[in-house]
């Protein structure tokens, strides 16, 4: 009996040692959850979530202080991926904030700009170029469309405009499962109109 006990103790300590060592040697470095959340957020730094920036919101989500549906620029896709990451229920987007309508970009009406630099100070991503008493302009590619520069402008010369759809940023629409015929017919209306004119002529 004693041999049995000793054998099992020896086995247990051996495997314990192996497991313990492998836990140390093959340790998987997982990035902290805040960083993982931060990577998913759209980084507009717009503050629509009522936090100062995306990182702060990520911290709040990680600590459980904020729900995952406070980010209008991220939309439903973001909520879904956050829900997957944190293994929580996906919530509908909190619509108390202004509804987000497609990607937008700030444009300075250069005739009106007085060069006060207030918008430059407000821009969270340094996307506005200019100096005191010099005309300012927005670097379109860097603008996240956060609208933070609109309020400080004393002469209201900043407009938010939707990003123009071009062939390079056009995307195939999601196929309509049961109504693909209808979808098809809507695409061809233009040609139909053209041809209708033709037959009349």
């Amino acid at each position: 009996m004693i041999t049995g006990i000793l054998a099992f103790v020896a086995l247990a300590s051996f495997f314990g040692l192996v497991l313990g060592l492998s836990a140390v040697i093959f340790k998987v470095e997982s990035s902290p959850v805040v960083d993982q959340i931060d990577t998913l957020l759209p980084q507009t730094q717009c503050g629509q979530c009522s936090f100062a920036g995306c990182h702060q919101y990520a911290q709040a989500i990680a600590s459980g202080d904020a729900p995952i549906n406070k980010c209008p620029p991220g939309g439903d896709n973001l909520i879904q991926s956050l829900a997957d990451l944190l293994d929580v229920e996906a919530l509908p987007l909190d619509e108390t904030e202004a509804a987000h309508s497609g990607p937008i970009v700030a444009v300075i009406i250069e005739d009106t700009c007085i060069g006060c630099t207030l918008c430059i100070q407000a821009c969270p991503v340094d996307a506005i170029l200019g100096a005191a008493k010099q005309m300012h302009t927005v670097i379109e590619n860097e603008c996240t469309g956060c609208e933070l520069c609109v309020a400080p402008c004393p002469v209201d010369c900043i407009e938010m405009i939707p990003i123009k759809q071009t062939i390079s940023n056009w995307r195939w629409p999601e196929p309509q499962y049961h109504t693909n015929n209808q979808a098809a017919s809507t695409i061809y209306t233009t040609l139909d109109q053209v041809l209708a004119e033709n037959t009349q002529a």
Binding site: D38, L41, P42, Q43, T44, Q45, G53, C54, N77, Q80, P124, V125, D126, A127, E142, T144, Q165, T166, I167, W170, R171, W172, P173, E174, P175, Y177, H178, T179, N180, N181, A184, I187, Y188, T190, L191, V194, L195, N198, T199
Partner: protein, 584 residues
């Protein structure tokens, strides 16, 4: 050539002893090619207005080098290549540049793009073109005397792009092939999609141009093997190419051009499928043919290379198949790039009242044009004008029944039903893991699906979404970097400000201390002056100088407290003052 002869040739093609491989899947489709491949190639009239898009290739759009109001000649450069992957655009007719503006272009979105618009004149005068060779030069010697650079430069300047449909700038492709040591050149003459016959008639009517073009490409690539893959449903083209090759005797030391008939099965003309049929090699997933030492060019591209080298002509026209039930005389017509499609249709003769759809490309991979007021571009190989009921409109899609006909028909050995589930559920990561990016969008799966599910549309959508997500992620990363940099900068500025404030404060404190000391010394000096009023003037002056020196010394030793290094005089005064205080 009569039908009987044709059959004999077809039989010889089938029996030709070539070791061929096969690709998985694929479907057999009705060719519908005989309507349009009988006639000779007609030439379209120069239209009143040419609409020439600046982006007719993969990569950066070309950069305009002409202004509105400029007079241009036929073949003159309109826009130059912008970056390594780009191609120049040339005027396809002489006239005056009337506008450089956005105009509708042939694209499934129906959106506009930047175009150069030329109001053509009656003269159609050619620009001074510089050919490298002339038709009088015999192939063997003349091509031999050209350098690789000469040929690739000519190809690049002529704005030649892959005319099989990919539209990749040919010069860039040849350049990479040269670097990557490709040993096999495959010329794609399969043209597997129904209705399209532009490559077929090109080979039939201008086989010499094709062969000379191939010899030029072969020279640049330095290939040890040169194969032309042609579907066995084109006996006349096969015969014409054979005859043309026999006209150019290549030295025995050089690799010969082999014409290999391949079984007609859609999509045998897909680049990866043709490579597999001819060589038995598979292009690696997400790789290029160059990764396995193969370069593939289309026959029409080869003919364009011929035009550029032997005529000096840039790519300003292409052969377009105009076919379909609503066309009175289906035919192949050489059209100037930029000609509005409406004018082409008017010239060919189309029953407008019968039209159901106008498709650019073939019925499998083409797209419906939203309008016919768009120009013909380098990509326009076929205009399929279908009448009502010609092309089956798919009935509403039914649920997937897991019959696996899609995976059986997939030439890339993918699992369409799995990718479909994930694409539909927007699980893009999974769709990507099932290699949706290897899908060549041939449409075999959608064709085979008994439930009429628009499978290929889902894959296009999924690819688009994945690319877009990646783009947004990159943008977000840049935004985060910029934001973090800004925070860092602000933090630094704050620290610098605090540091400056601290320094200023210190300086002020020092200055105050110094002032106090100075004041005291001055008062000391006055005191000593009054003490020694009786002494003579020279002594006074000496005293003053000493006092000044002391002040200077004190300034130098600013850190020292003014109670250090006191003179006996001062010490005496301090003692006196202390005494007075203690008495008081």
């Amino acid at each position: 050539m009569n039908a009987k002869q044709n059959n004999t040739i077809a039989q010889t093609m089938k029996e030709a002893m070539y070791k061929l491989w096969s690709f998985p899947g694929g479907i057999t489709l009705a060719g519908n090619k005989s309507q349009s491949n009988k006639e000779t190639i007609s030439t379209a009239k120069t239209p009143k207005q040419l609409i020439i898009p600046l982006s007719q290739h993969i990569g950066q759009p070309a950069e305009a080098v002409v202004k509105v109001g400029d007079k241009v000649l036929k073949g003159q450069l309109l826009a130059q290549a912008n970056g390594a992957i780009s191609a120049p655009i040339h005027a396809s007719g002489s006239g005056i540049v009337s506008a450089i503006e956005e105009h509708a272009v042939p694209h499934p979105s129906g959106l506009v793009a930047l175009c150069i618009i030329i109001d053509t004149d009656d003269y159609q005068q050619w620009f001074d073109c510089q050919p490298l060779l002339s038709d009088a030069d015999t192939a063997e010697h003349s091509i031999h005397n050209l350098t690789h650079e000469q040929i690739t430069t000519q190809i690049a300047q002529a704005g030649i792009v892959g005319l099989g449909g990919a539209l990749f700038p040919s010069a860039a492709k040849l350049h990479t092939a040269e670097q990557k040591q490709t040993d096999t050149l495959i010329i794609n003459a399969a043209e597997c999609e129904p209705y399209i016959t532009c490559d077929d008639v090109l080979m039939r009517r201008r086989p010499e141009e094709v062969i000379l073009g191939i010899l030029l490409i072969k020279k640049v690539v330095g290939a040890k093997k040169c194969l032309i893959g042609i579907e066995d449903n084109k006996p006349e083209a096969y015969q014409a190419l054979l005859a043309a090759i026999s006209g150019y005797k290549l030295p025995h030391t050089e690799p010969q051009i082999e014409i290999i008939p391949v079984p007609a099965r859609y999509p045998a003309g897909g680049e990866k499928q043709l490579i597999q049929v001819l060589t038995g090699k598979q292009v690696p997933s997400r790789g290029l043919p160059m990764d396995i030492g193969i370069i593939c060019h289309n026959v029409t591209t080869a003919a364009a290379v011929y035009q550029a080298v032997y005529r000096g002509e840039p790519l300003i026209s292409r052969i377009v198949t105009v076919t379909g039930g609503a066309v009175k005389h289906p035919q192949n017509i050489e059209v100037l790039i930029g000609t509005p499609i409406r004018e082409v249709l008017d010239q060919v003769g189309v029953a407008y009242n019968k039209i159901e759809k106008v498709i650019m490309g073939g019925p499998m991979m083409g797209f419906s044009l939203p309008s016919i007021d768009v120009p013909v571009t380098k990509a326009s190989n076929c205009l399929l004008i279908s009448e009502q009921g010609e092309l089956a409109t798919p009935p509403p899609a039914m649920p997937c029944i897991r019959c696996a006909r899609c995976s059986d028909s997939c030439p890339m050995s993918l699992l369409p039903q799995q990718m479909y589930w994930y694409a539909k559920a927007r699980d893009l990561e999974k769709a990507n893991a099932y290699n949706v990016f290897d899908c060549i969008e041939c449409g075999c799966c959608s064709y085979a699906c008994p439930s009429n599910i628009p499978l290929v549309q889902y894959f296009r959508y999924a690819k688009n979404e994945i690319n877009n997500e990646q783009k947004e992620r990159n943008k977000a990363n840049i935004a985060r970097e910029r934001h973090e940099f800004r925070l860092e900068r602000l933090e630094k500025a704050k620290q610098a400000k605090a540091e400056a404030a601290r320094l200023r404060k210190e300086k002020l404190a020092k200055k105050k201390a110094l002032d106090a000391k100075k004041a005291q010394q001055e008062s000391d000096a006055t005191a000593s002056d009054t003490d020694k009023k009786d002494t003579n003037d020279s002594a006074d002056l000496i005293q003053e100088a000493i006092a000044r020196a002391k002040v200077k010394k004190a300034q130098q030793q600013a850190q020292k407290k003014n109670t250090d290094n006191l003179t006996a005089d001062q010490q005496r005064q301090i003692d006196e003052a202390n005494e007075r205080r203690s008495i008081e």
